[in-house]
Subunit: 418 residues, 2 copies
């Protein structure tokens, strides 16, 4: 199986000024085409650091993909460093890249400067990967049997070369395959989940690896990975293994791959031709925001009311004032009235509601920070419940939101058939 | 100057399933307290890989910060690997972490399992950094003169230990100082900003470094950094330099440090004893969510209406149907009526509104994807405007939200006095 390492170059990464998203993009792409990424690293704009780190990478993996440091300014020194590593002594002008540079300058109305022109000059022993989406060309070197690719750090230029050029080069080398398949659960904490599926996990066939990927917004993802060709019919094997989990985990399993609670709910409502509205107090718009981040949300999500102040709960949502006086705004009764209210005023099939204490202030002995009351109202029913979570304000808001969506999911009996 | 390297552990990073945001957070924090990050790497859940990579890191820098692989499940092997590295042969139970674990399980209503309990067992030669926000403790080792910290990979748990514990430990070791000071601007794209302040930047004193930190939600931050003690009165020098920018950038400068648009707006409204409501169409709750993520939001943010469907705009917000027929829902007129409507029905001092096309569908020649109409209504005035942005759906929603908050900021004349 071909192995790779990914190196991103730039001081802005090492001082934490930017989050490196290139590495994940490259890794995901390599994975899909069957190259295993063994190592990722970020290196400063320092020639000796670049050379020593890349030498080590070249000695350890079949492929090294480098991004960054190819720009026209002084702090971009990757080309010079790799040139030394690859034993090249002279630069030659690449006419195809020069054409691209001329066109780009013309389009942008900039005069072609020496700095721009220099970008078309490449080490004499590299294969040029023409970059049609920017001025700096990609370069491919063979060093001691390792393929080293140097790409620009601008994400869409890097993506253009990964998708359009490098994918083709690597697929030609026919690497072995990697197979991944995931299912997603909600409602069982990671440690309990591990205990519940312990026997299943211990009996996984050799060559099948399990990973737990927890997230406050989506729940715990379980991923099976199979490397190489030791296992035939990988899809079938994964499906059978997951099917065996169904009796153990039941309706906690709600999706697969990139599914999220809001995606499976939206898909279900769309299928059913139903609509949804939300009355949010403590979640302050987070649930609506999660529901509308997906395209096509307008087909199922009619809208909502952020009832942050109690007056809004009463005046706009029609929550009876007595409920707030008797039970408080953070109560199952208030959440139920909010869900019924938003469902009624927006005329939707279902209404959901949240009322809770995200913190850090506002808690009491009876209702500490982390207390959440949620409700779902639909044709002929309203259900509500109280949960207790713990975390800081931002995390509480995230977990409050996913708990509410999960409660809706369970009320709608949405689960993954396996 | 103390040097550090950052290692994140987990197969999910190397297959590109998640973007590693921990490294940037850690690097930024270390930078602020005066530690220089020389190297970052991501390593698979593989014992020999972890050991060899960490050995190299320990030999090269004064501090190594490791995250990930401390969970309760089988794929979490960091503790075992570091134990071998650090020459520990036995685990001991840390009672303080065990207490935290017991409390968390109790709060969540989970029975304490062996897996949970195991998390409190740590190598006998480490110093435990009690993790109050999760079950896995942080650990500190001294290996060949290097301080190695092992932290959980869950971002908020890692952040809790970085901010609350490690920062204190490292500041105690008195590294050389790095001084940073930032101001934040909104409304001028990074490249134009760079052009406008070119002369100022070229004349910065030796030893003062400028960085541009653009973000779709907050605008472009300008950060001045001074390393070591070459410059005296760093605070004063930075203040004078920033003051010289005021005549150039004017009211585009709205904050400093960790300010955000929503923070400066909330502080202003709180001071003024005013309240705010939001009517969101295309932003789907994002603005309300941004306003309520900060503590104390309830003092100024009364609530809002997510008017995703046009019926909600008409029925709930009272937008005249003729406006939608004549100008369309995405129009300055509709946004103005929405802002006035939400201000009226929630009885707030100010009302803001958004209506636009986030994409990818829904665009037309006259109103392409990226078109946004926004409005602010207050005592005796309503102002609206149209802007054109470009990006994918998620980025458009972010930029739509910050454009709207910035419009409100300008209507309220909020700027940073320098």
């Amino acid at each position: 199986m071909l192995t790779a390492s990914v190196c991103t170059i730039g001081d802005e990464i090492l001082i934490g000024q930017i989050v490196d998203t290139n590495s994940a993009y490259i890794a995901s792409k390599l994975n899909t085409i069957g190259v295993k990424v063994n190592h990722m690293q970020s290196i400063a704009d320092d020639e000796s650091e670049i050379i020593s780190s890349l030498r080590l990478a070249v000695s350890k993996t079949d492929i090294v993909i480098v991004t960054g440091g190819l720009g026209p300014t002084k702090d971009d020194i990757t080309k010079k460093a790799i040139m030394k590593m690859a034993g090249s002594n002279s630069l030659i002008c690449n006419d195809r890249q020069l054409n691209v540079i001329e066109e780009i300058c013309k389009k942008r109305g900039i005069e072609l400067s020496d700095l721009n022109r220099e970008q078309a000059w490449v080490p004499d022993n590299c294969q040029v990967l023409v970059n049609k989406s920017g001025t700096a060309p990609g370069m491919m070197f063979e060093i001691d049997g390792c393929l080293l690719f140097s790409l620009p750090g601008v994400p869409y230029e890097m993506q253009f070369l990964m998708d359009g050029v490098i994918e083709g080069i690597l697929e030609h080398r026919k690497p072995e395959s990697i197979f991944h398949k995931s299912i997603i659960t909600f409602g069982i904490p990671e440690s309990s989940l591990a205990k519940q599926i312990e026997e299943w996990e211990n009996n996984l066939p050799a060559g099948v690896k399990l990973a737990y990927l927890p997230s406050p917004l989506t729940g715990v993802k379980l991923r099976l990975s199979m490397y190489g060709s030791a296992i035939e019919n990988q899809e079938k094997v994964a499906n059978e293994l997951f099917a065996a989990l169904k009796p153990v985990l039941g309706n906690a399993i709600y999706g697969e791959g990139d599914d999220t609670l809001e995606k499976v709910i939206s898909a279900y409502l769309n299928e059913e031709n139903s609509t949804l509205s939300a009355a949010e107090s403590c979640t302050g718009g987070k649930i609506s925001s999660m529901l509308t981040i997906n395209e096509g949300a307008s087909r199922v999500f009619t809208g909502g009311v952020i009832a942050y102040d109690n007056r809004v709960k009463v005046d706009l949502l029609g929550v009876p004032e007595e409920i707030i006086i008797k039970h408080g705004a953070v109560s199952e009764e208030c959440a139920a009235a909010m869900a019924e209210g938003v469902r009624k005023i927006l005329g939707t099939t279902y209404g959901i509601a949240t009322s809770g204490i995200a913190g850090p202030g506002g808690g009491s002995e009876e209702k500490p920070v982390g207390t959440l009351c949620i409700a779902v109202s639909g044709p002929g029913f309203t259900r509500s419940k109280r949960v207790r979570l713990s975390g800081d304000r931002a995390r509480n808001i995230d977990r409050f939101s996913s708990e509410t969506l999960n409660f809706l999911r369970l009320c709608l009996n949405i689960e993954l058939p396996l």
